[in-house]
Amino acid sequence: MTKALYQMTIHELHELLKKKAVSALEITQAVYQRIDAVEPRVHAYITLTREAALKQAAAADEKTKQGTIPPLTGIPLAIKDLLCTAGIRTTCGSKILEQFIPPYDATVVRRLKEQHAVLVGKTNMDEFAMGSSTETSCFGPTANPWDLERVPGGSSGGSAAAVAADECIAALGTDTGGSIRQPAACCGIVGMKPTYGRVSRFGLIAFASSLDQIGPMTKDVTDTALLMNYISGHDPRDSTAVNREVPDYTRALIPEAKGLRLGVPREYFGASGIDPEVEKAVWEALRILERQGATLTEITLPHTEYAVAAYYLIAPAEASSNLARYDGVKYGYRHPGETDLRDMYEITRAEGFGAEVKRRIMLGTYALSAGYYDAYYRKASQVRTLIRQDFEEAFKACDLIVTPTAPTPPFRLGEKLNNPLQMYLSDIFTIPANLAGLPGISIPCGLSSRGLPIGLQIIGNLFEEEKIIHGAYCLEQNSDWHLTKPSLA
């Protein structure tokens, strides 16, 4: 059976485009036909930009006529709806930004447009990226394409589901505590959070500025490497986007693992709440890498058990400050008719934000407030130092750290919605990398007995995305989990 255009990867389509065997317009139309067929069940998108996309595809075809094209030209991509797109509404999954039309593009969006990529639409997400299930979106939840009764993970659940359901070729997500990697694991795709500072955050609607990072969500590791080549790099508009050379990440696509030292942290295995099926799948993947020449070493990250608590004080503290800007004055929703300024602020915010966003603003405001700052925010920031030091020590003995991405396969819609603490624990394995600024990837490594995807996480040292891509590619080339697709029956 030959693959339909919408099922293909960036690199497969690029080969066809180069040979002029297919046009960008045909690819884009195929993707929208797929969207028309499955989107009513999946609900991966908040906004579709069909008209603009068809124009972009026609422009890409012009480029192809003129000569050689770079890999992203003519490729339909989806963008998480917290990355600003000039002239296209950007909602962050929130009522408070429901009508917001950015006057400029995020740097990553500009970079994709410069490559003549085709932007299919804006994907669904937990409100302000606060959630692990895409259920806190004010536009309603996204369904997991593998089982429509289950969550796609979050917060970039719309991007993950769109890639898994072939409603785009690849997507961008953002990751503050696991929001690329955990949904990638839940939907059986590849998702990478780069090193903090590798990709410009200009035009990303801020949640927690010391943790947020943009990254690719793709059907295979090669596509992740390709997208990393084009989204990475210094940006004068984000002073934290490090001025450091961007390597050609595709050079790290090496199918064997000779010489790679893999660290297996004992705290991530046998922990309470981890599904034995997840653990088994990760170990089987580790054995594959070992057969390809990697060596395994047990390592220890002793402060792992404190990471969730530290994160859920630091991230909400930063969020409480970042979200102060939504006051009904400069942009966004305003409660109509109020004649008192303070009432206007409070009612606007009470009506504009959903429950989880309010919970985090409250938690963060409390952690920063007089009398509690030392016990909560400062303490959490000290624990963050200890977690960073754990990784510094661990990377003396290994090149990469391999763990499960999420403790369980995707859970049922509604299962954790009324238990915030349970929901927070979904991020237990992904949060430490954010606190330490480290890059991490999730790649498919198996299916549970119910046929649900399981993800494996590889964490690397700062700016060592190449080693991660190397390890991930080796595993992918020696297994076929990335070729297993949801039936969407």
Partner: protein, 96 residues
């Protein structure tokens, strides 16, 4: 109790949020559950540990102070719920 209903009302005022009576009870309850769990941080001795506010150590990023075009006023006002001339318009804040 880590946090009382009264504290929740106080923090809501600081955060410019407003809750119904039911929501106050629910938030007090949920924040207590969360903060009680987070008490595990207090088990750790962090004496002498420098706090990290960022993951990657960065020094200041300087550039030349050059005048360049920026967002036009008209564009900046486009998303405002209310504006007048070149200003954002808010409810009256000075009595009289």
């Amino acid at each position: 109790m880590k946090i009382t209903r009264h504290d929740v009302e106080h923090v809501a005022r600081l955060a410019r949020l407003r809750f119904s009576e039911d929501q106050l009870d629910l938030f007090t309850d949920q924040l207590n559950t969360i903060l009680t769990d987070f008490d595990k941080l207090q088990q750790l001795d962090t004496t002498g540990v420098e706090p990290s506010t960022h993951a990657v150590n960065l020094s200041n990023a300087f550039r030349d102070d050059q005048v360049r075009p920026s967002l036009a006023g008209e564009e900046a006002l486009k998303n405002a719920p209310a504006h007048e001339r070149s200003c954002f318009k808010v409810p009256r804040i000075i009595e009289g």
